[in-house]
């Protein structure tokens, strides 16, 4: 009862700092981006003018935009699928083994400790088409007829980036799924066993429902993160060669800093945001449905 009575100003003290931070730091930039996207703003030119939706029209007519959008979707879907498959299977394996569990866990999360610049430096060298360790090893072992060009071969480059992103992102998924697995009461499995359930049956009926929401949340978080990710691609290939790895953030960056059309670049980022809002909106609807089912 007292909760209602005292619902006065002090409750605002709790939420105001966060609202202020978010308000000041996000509302202004977003509105200024929206504003710029309607102007001919140029990075180093002083004067600019209002040009309506011309930037959006330009971007939506640029075939490179759709290539970048498609790449973004491919990049997000493939990376996430890989991260979840590897992270999930590693968590299951870890959950099962008894010996060396701690060592595996420690070693498996190493990639997570890599800042993106170190990811880029090390993989760029390891996979370098001339003096990289891996291409030379494969070549010397006779597994390939020539040194593989991981960063320039049109058939390889995208998957190389996805691989590196999976390498980096799977540990986080693994750690979270593992701890979710550990919260499942053991007696549920025992009970299922007594009822004569097969392994896969208890997996489908006990394990999956338990970790569904964690996985769901992880997928949302990682989708946003991977979709918006700029560093890894920028530092590894810069979107090249021939725009094969240009995702929307890279496309926007090249427009803002390469050709310096800030107005257009802003238009791209606004479109990017709209796209994300739609995607995550769908996710949340699904997760809410799951949560309702559960309770």
């Amino acid at each position: 009862m007292f909760v209602k009575k005292e619902r006065n100003l002090t409750r605002w003290i709790f939420v105001l700092p966060a609202l202020l931070v978010v308000g000041m730091l996000l509302i202004y930039p977003v509105f200024s981006s929206i504003y710029y996207s309607l102007t001919s703003k140029h990075l180093i030119k002083q004067s600019y003018s209002f040009i309506g939706f011309k930037n959006y029209i330009y971007v939506l007519q640029d075939s490179a935009f759709y290539v970048a959008l498609l790449n973004s979707i491919k990049w997000t879907v493939l990376s996430l699928t890989g991260q979840i498959l590897i992270g999930f299977s590693a968590a299951l394996a870890l959950h099962r083994v008894v010996k060396f569990k701690g060592i595996y866990r420690t070693l498996l999360i190493i990639p997570w400790a890599f800042p993106s610049i170190v990811i880029a430096l090390s993989w760029k060298w390891i996979l370098n088409g001339v003096y990289g360790y891996v291409p030379n090893l494969l070549f010397d072992l006779g597994l390939t007829t020539e040194r593989l060009q991981f960063f320039s071969d049109a058939n390889l480059v995208f998957m190389t980036l996805v691989f590196i992103n999976v390498w980096f992102g799977a540990p986080m998924i693994m750690v979270n799924i593992l701890s979710a697995l550990q919260t499942i009461p053991k007696d549920q499995y025992e009970a299922a066993k007594i009822d004569g359930a097969k392994r896969w049956q208890s997996f489908v009926h006990i394990t999956l429902p338990h970790i569904k929401i964690v996985v769901g949340l992880l997928v949302v978080l990682r989708t946003i993160w991977v979709f918006n990710n700029f560093d890894i691609i920028y530092l590894l290939t810069g979107g090249g060669p021939a725009n094969l790895t240009t995702t929307l953030p890279i496309y926007a960056y090249n427009m803002g800093w390469g050709t310096k059309f800030l107005g257009r670049s802003s238009a791209v980022t606004i479109l990017l945001l709209l796209f994300l809002l739609v995607v995550t909106g769908v996710y949340f609807t699904v997760i809410r449905k799951w949560e309702k089912e559960e309770s």
Binding site: I44, N128, G129, V130, Q149, G238, P241, L244
Partner: protein, 460 residues
Amino acid sequence: MKKFLSSVLIVVMMGITLMGCSLNEEPETQSQDSSENTETAQTENTGSEEIQELEGEITFWHSFTQGQRLDVIQKAADEFMQQNPKVNIIIETYSWGDFYTKWTTGLASGNIPDISTALPGHVVEMIDAEALMPLNDVVDAIGRNKFAEATLGEGTLDGNNYSVPLYSHAQVMWYRKDLLDEAGIEVPTTWDEFYEAAVKLTTDDVYGISVPTGSGDLMGTRFLNFYVRSGGGSLLTEDLKANLTSDLAIDGIKYWAKLYNETSPKDSVNYKVLDQANLFYQGKMAFDFNSGFHVGGIANNSPDLLDDISCAPIPKINANDPEYGIETSNIPIVLWKNTEYPEIAKAFIEYIYNEDIYIEFLESVPVGMLPAIAGIKDSEKYMENETIQQFADEVDVISEAVGKGTAIGFEHGPSVEAGLLASQSIIENMFQSILVGGVDVETAAQKAEDELNESFEMMQ
């Protein structure tokens, strides 16, 4: 536990407040007393630095990111500060690539240095953005007639010298004497000979030449420019439109595409200047195009190769073609308009040109940096340097190339268009779309030309 947590929270709160204080390091230049400004303004009026003491803080951004060059500049600044105790010079270094991002973004947000180095192509963009302050008096103080007119002209608009050339270098063809000798190949003088030699020298371990077209750098533009300039053409038309679809340019694009397919590591589509140079340092490339900086690079990375390298002029299309001159870079210093202490900045720039400091600076990368002012090259102190003696022939080749060439696109004089030509990676992307994307040369060239022209129009 509860007590622990609440005390943690209190400490945290205090921490925040403290951090707020200690981290708020606003650039000191802005918080300086305004009375100093009037004082320094008077200094300028009297025109004599000895009467009034210089006072203030300036920031100097340069791109001499490593090793001795950095040290020499720092030493010069230290000495200058010793002589002018009330002056503080803050030096920041950026790679050329980062520098471009820094100043373009900085210009939008008002966060730029007092003085900086620049690429000639950047200078025209800076002038166009009205970001620079003329340095005519500095040029006069150093000696206007010591500078080559063409060199000084690269940063001059309407009689104002917006940049002072610091050093010069030019692109030449580097080759591995040992590899050529072994294969019994003469040093190529035409592009056809070069092609044959490069193909012949390509083995499992060594590439004839790598064709670098990584975006975010200008290497693709540079290589195309070699070919086009050697035929007397230009990547810009006389009325400053992009010119990638001329027969000469198309031939050039096809030429490099051919070499990419036959003698280059395929990864070179992503190569920037350092990736390319690195391959030469590792002894993995028979030829390379670069300036005298290759000597320093080899000396640092693989001193064993030092005796095996030499350079020659960039090949021509036909052996009897005239020498049109290829690419010369005169790296200048510029003064930014927003500076509060122009007289300190100017005094410091002049100071760098003091013969002793200047020679020490040049010799921090021997052969790489050639003097931009007369009277240095033949001085005893300059000639004392061992590397310069060892590479005397190469210095001659480069010096000759310096005299003939211009910055990319500067054949019709300095222009923003020339700057944009190289700074936006449009030509690099064109190469990539041809080499990896399978687009045909004419289509890709037309598209790149249109993109360039559109960006030129935006600058009007």
